[in-house]
Amino acid sequence: MASLPPKHRLQSSAADSAATGQHEHHRPRGLMRWVLTTNHKEIGTLYLIFSLTMFLIGGVFALVVRAELFQPGLQLVQPEFFNQMTTMHGLIMVFGAVMPAFVGLANWMVPLQIGAPDMALPRLNNFSFWLLPIAFTLMLSTLFMPGGAPNFGWTFYAPLSTTYAPPSTTFFILSLHIAGISSILGAINIIATILNLRAPGMRMMDMTLFVWTWLITAFLLIAVMPVLAGVVTMMLMDINFGTSFFNAGGGGDPVLFQHLFWFFGHPEVYIMILPAFGIVSVIIPTFARKRLFGYASMVYATASIAILSFLVWAHHMFVVGLPLVAELFFMYSTMLIAVPTGVKVFNWITTLFRGSISFEPAMLFAIAFVVLFTIGGFSGLMLAISPADFQYHDTYFVVAHFHYVLVPGAVFSIMAAVYYWLPKWTGHYPHLRLSQWHFWLSVIGVNLTFFPMHFSGLAGMPRRIPDYSLQFADFNMVSSIGAFMFGLSQLLFVVIVIMCVRGGKTAPAKAWDGAEDLEWTVPSPAPLHTFEHPPQYRPVEH
């Protein structure tokens, strides 16, 4: 710890990265401690709590949708409100639940895994977090505005989101701007931390895959969040200032909107899955008690997925009337992504092969991730076949695809991470029996919900419609039952986390016997300040 008084240090330094390592007795107490904190662990916790809150709110919206779809016909809600629910569900889950959860995990674990005392820009870190509650309060408040919340789907295609949008759209745009700034600042911070604050002796190729995947994700964020900001700004101008970016009547082009959106949107889906790859690549070796198979190929596969993700955006637009060469180009480039993704799945399975495996809750979620994410990858490949997508597009098959990659994909990886690192965070193991119940209820619930959607989609059921023809009734009833099962079992998750914070079996520093990364060298629970003296890193052969 520096011996200079904090004040002096503040003067002598750039305003943005000063307030590291305050002394315990200078810290504000009570609520202000959380509002003003610059500690990466506390900010990480704030992100995770925020994300969990959003996950539950977004989940309630999803259950409104599934309740309406339980039977054909209109029972519970009006179609207008139904559309607001699908839209808000998607927006909240993508921008409010999954992305902040990964940022929270990065805040907690990146410094611990690279042996840094904190993030490189701690005060900026505080600011990035507090933008999020503002953004999402604004977004949720649109539900109470005249004309209702945004109702044009999470992809907000113009002119539905401009010419035909409710008045609250301007607030929605503002909230996306704020959330986008938060993500960009978070990404800058993560890049600065990983590139500069690694423990002496730790080379790039010594970093854990969680750190690697987050580094690449942060670059993706820097690259595409400005495009999102640009596209919503153009919407704002079309709505309020009479421009015609997307208005054909004024000479604009609605298809341009889709190009811009998906140029952001496809890398965005990888932003939501690359950190998940990292988490699983850290958990599987721990519980297989083997080194990760193909470490270097994992890094290269992640990087090539990130680069390729800029070349495939129009696979979301096969039916807008692309010329034949474009259909073919985007079809093949999309299929190409399956190659590095396949490398990853292969490496996970090979790591498991002849491992001495134990099935702790984190491992259960990680294995379910590998299996179920792969199902989502396969349905993605089916959608990538452009002529087939003419049939599948805008049906429940697409809904099944992206929920398989996002729920038992991204969300399961987050849960695996929570079960894996809870002992480090709280000093206690999560309750084993309850965790196992949570896992099994979740896996069964997820599959009951989303597997039948493949069938209803192939049979032609359109997405984003509150009513459907009778032949889809059985599939939908199963989906709705599964959805309630999955949704309610997440309450169990909340209970498990709260119980674990309060007590439980005490965890040692190295909470899992196969865990080798740096975070397991600090005590459990991790004290507020760790690695103030940088650890000497001894490279392990990967």
Binding site: D16, P117, M237, T243, L260, P323, E532
Partner: protein
Amino acid sequence: MVNVVEDRRPQVRRTVIKTLVVLAGMCVFAFALVPLYDVFCQVTGLNGKTASSAQSLVHQEVDDERTVTMQFVTRGAAGLPWRLEVEERQIRVHPGQSAEVHFTFRNLGERSLVARAVPSVTPSPASLHLRKLVCFCFENQRLAAGESFTAPLVFQLTRDLPPEIKAVTLVYTLYPQENDTVTAAMPDDGKHIDAVATRRWADRSSGGET
């Protein structure tokens, strides 16, 4: 004892500056994509847009060997009580030949209103070979309540129309316009100031004049 964060501050600052540069570059790129898209579409004709001002006739021999079906489709707009009709829904033309068809606008509403018919060509590659010598679509129309107005479209399909194209569809969709934007013609000179301030995005295909 050294504080690592203190210690590495210069490096951190360098990294931050670099990422900010990339960020700024991407912000510029995001907006640059709009004109890039316009140029791309103009060169390739991919979004089926036609020139936004009158073009001259290309004098070339009429290709009597080939006949192309020219179809006209007209569409109204939500909330605009207008009707747009074409005298002949379909005509047959030879490449190189010029032809004329008449369109009639009718305001069935009770107010004077301004609208514009926006063209779109299918298949999109044909848009590069469709020359409009006279078109009502270059300007906004104001029609008093109950008024109607007939205007000609004079066009030519040039001989370099790709041989696989046997039929070309020209769709006109009506779009309501701000009431104060009525002008004799939408000029391309950029000096035009109206509520549609970024008109220049609109003038996508002003090239192509000979």
